[in-house]
């Protein structure tokens, strides 16, 4: 919760700075705050936030999933293939794609919890395996829908009108749904309680009779399922996927979003609000750069710098506050 507050403050500062600097003296409007820009931004937050939650499920158990980007690629290639080349209906194609991704998660879970392999190794190999497999599967062709998926594309590009000029992007609603669901699971169900116990001290959880293996497997399934759902949204958004690059490095955005939001890499710690805010920050910063600067070549440097600054500030403020709290 404390972490969520910190990242929230940083997000607010970045947003306020961007809004202030994006003022256009000719039209008198703040470009950052325009309905069009906010819609775009919220849609991207929705898309990447889903991946943030995917990463969080596994990180909470003390594991890691480096194959999120590759699973996004799998979903991005398989969904158009089912829809256009196999003539599946929209719903059926979506369900089949998600099942395939859940299957990948099951495979990861079995290797990690059943066979005792390192999550890093399993998912790093998965990253290479699935992307390579998709390149072969798609024969390096771009996979797209053409006009085949107009209905389904609403999931990624649709908006629910909210007032006259503003519409709430559907992916943000999907993220809200996932966030609330995750919150309920984490803080109100037995499953969530066990997940956090397992993440902090697997040995103790096992001694307490917690089915740690089954839980770990379930966490990997949840991760790949969410990554697959994210992948479907991404491909529905841009309408085409190239197996060699689609979703490449997205696992880093996902992990960064989750960790920024206070999901501890050692496991057993995480807040839903933090993940949403962390993922949001990862999307606001590039937007800031493109709206304010004439060149985007410093993008990575600015993103890295701002986040590092945030982490330093968090630590310094934390120390200062704890010193103040102790009576002299």
């Amino acid at each position: 919760m404390k972490k969520a507050l910190g990242i929230g403050v940083l997000l607010l500062v970045v947003a306020a700075f961007t809004a202030w600097r994006s003022h256009d003296p000719e039209t008198g409007r703040y470009v950052f705050l325009s309905a069009y820009n906010l819609e775009n931004l919220l849609q991207r937050i929705g898309l990447f936030g889903v991946l943030g939650f995917a990463a969080a499920f596994v990180i909470v158990t003390g594991g890691i999933d480096l194959s999120i980007g590759a699973v996004v690629c799998v979903a991005g290639c398989v969904l158009p293939w089912l829809l256009r080349d196999r003539g599946c209906g929209g719903g059926a194609a979506l369900v089949l794609t998600l099942l395939l991704c859940a299957g990948i998660g099951l495979w990861h879970g079995l290797l990690v919890a059943g066979l005792g392999l390192q999550p890093f190794v399993v998912t790093l190999c998965g990253l290479l395996l699935y992307r390579g497999w998709m390149r072969g599967f798609s024969d390096d062709q771009t996979m797209g829908f053409g006009d085949a998926a107009e209905g389904l594309r609403w999931l990624a590009t649709g908006k629910l009108p909210l007032g006259e000029s503003f519409g709430l992007p559907v992916p943000l609603l999907a993220l809200a749904f996932i966030a609330v669901g995750t919150w309920v699971v984490w803080s109100r169900t037995v499953w969530g309680r066990h997940l956090f116990a397992l993440g902090r001290n697997e040995e103790a959880a096992r001694f307490a009779g917690v089915p740690t293996r089954r839980l770990t497997i379930a966490a990997y399934v949840a991760c790949s399922l969410l990554a697959g759902f994210g992948g479907c949204l991404f491909v529905l958004d841009v309408n085409s996927a190239q197996a060699s690059s689609f979703g490449s490095f997205y696992e880093l955005y996902a992990i960064a979003g989750a960790v920024l939001g206070g999901v501890a890499l050692r496991g057993g710690e995480g807040s839903v609000l933090g993940i949403v805010l962390g993922s949001a920050l990862m999307q606001v910063l590039p937007n800031t750069i493109r709206l304010l600067f004439d060149s985007d070549r410093m993008e990575f440097a600015v993103v890295g710098g701002v986040i590092l600054f945030g982490a330093i500030a968090d630590q310094v403020v934390g120390r200062w506050a704890s010193r103040r709290r102790r009576p002299a």
């Binding site: 994006s22 470009v31 775009n40 390579g132 771009t142 841009v238 190239q242 590039p286 060149s295």
Partner: protein, 341 residues
């Protein structure tokens, strides 16, 4: 331009005849490789050209595409090919400026030509392709056509560390600003570019991430309400621009000009939403690179080999502008070549 291309063809054909006659003594087919700079549909068309050349010129050939589109990856591909042993390589160098040493090493152990993107400082034998600067100027002419009254233009490109991308972009800029022809010129990303009726507001890069390309297009529309045209310099970009402009409800107000022959781009031209696109001829890149290499491999005599070399060591395969006027004919031909419906 077509003169020496024909000459190469004629010579290659003649050589083929000779090879066919002498073939009984030397049954081994030349082993050639065609290396691209990334994975794209564009190169799928190119690989069909390679396929055609295999039968036409009696060679063995492999196509290699670097999955992540990085120079390191391309380096590994080239080194592996040398290790495997090939007679000739045609490569589209990812980073010509810094790959000179590597290309020279390759040229020392196999016949090397560049295609698509040139590396003039290296010891490559020849460049097969178009001049990207000239293609950029052609694209600039399309923008001028779309915006006879001038306006603000935003450019989108995969990255700017690749020679063909830099020259393509410079061509567009120089044409819009009515500058003289100077392929060596380079305007920085944040340089103010205004002249006459046209202004180039910005160049956005997306590192081949489609989602990022789309986000950049959205942000450009959000930032400037007066954008009159957007230009996508890489194959996958015009469709993203089309998507974005459509979603922002600014079709017609923001003109779209592109590069290459993505289906969605061509459909956009047919529908009247995309003004035009500049297409290269990857099919011929593949076919003619191999034709030249095949001829060179079979000619052992240095002097006669030199005579095979085209003028200025450049096989020009010029770019063409596709607009509503010629899109149907072009698309039909493309489908025929790629064997797609």
């Amino acid at each position: 331009m077509t003169m020496h291309r024909r000459a190469v063809f004629a010579f290659a054909a003649a050589l083929l005849l000779v090879a066919a006659v002498a073939g009984q003594d030397a049954p081994r087919k030349p082993k050639l490789a065609f290396v691209t700079n990334c994975v794209a549909e564009f190169w799928t068309v190119g690989s069909f050209g390679v396929e055609a050349a295999k039968a036409e010129f009696g060679v063995d050939a492999v196509v290699r595409m670097p999955a992540n589109g990085t120079a390191e990856e391309q380096k590994r591909i080239l080194e592996d090919l040398l290790a495997k042993g090939v007679d000739g390589i045609a490569v589209s160098p990812k980073d010509p400026e810094n790959m000179t040493a590597l290309l020279d090493k390759v040229a020392g152990r196999a016949l090397l030509v560049t295609h698509d993107s040139d590396a003039p400082k290296s010891k490559r034998l020849c460049y097969v392709g178009m001049d990207n600067y000239d293609a950029g100027r052609l694209c600039g002419q399309l923008v001028k056509q779309a915006l006879p009254d001038g306006g603000a233009v935003v450019l989108f490109v995969g990255n700017l560390d690749q020679d063909n991308a830099r020259r393509r972009r410079q061509g567009v800029i120089d044409e819009l600003l009515d500058r003289s022809r100077d392929p060596a010129r380079f305007d920085k990303q944040d340089a103010p570019l205004k002249g006459g009726k046209y202004e180039v507001r910005a160049t956005f890069t997306d590192q081949f991430d489609r989602q990022k390309g789309k986000a950049a297009a959205q942000d450009a529309l959000a930032r400037w309400s007066d954008v009159a045209a957007m230009v996508g310099l890489f194959e996958y970009e015009p469709p993203l621009l089309l998507e974005t402009v459509k979603a922002a409800d600014r079709l017609g107000k923001v003109k779209i000009v592109g590069f290459d022959e993505n289906d969605a781009t061509l459909q956009g031209i047919v529908d009247g939403h995309v003004h035009g696109t500049v297409v290269q001829n990857p099919y011929e890149y593949g076919r003619q690179s191999l034709a030249l290499l095949a001829a060179l491999v079979r000619e052992k005599d240095a002097e006669r080999r030199a005579a095979l070399m085209p003028k200025e060591r450049f096989v020009d395969i010029p770019a063409r502008a596709i607009t509503k006027a010629n899109v149907e004919a072009f698309w039909t031909d493309l489908r025929q070549k790629t064997g797609r419906k």
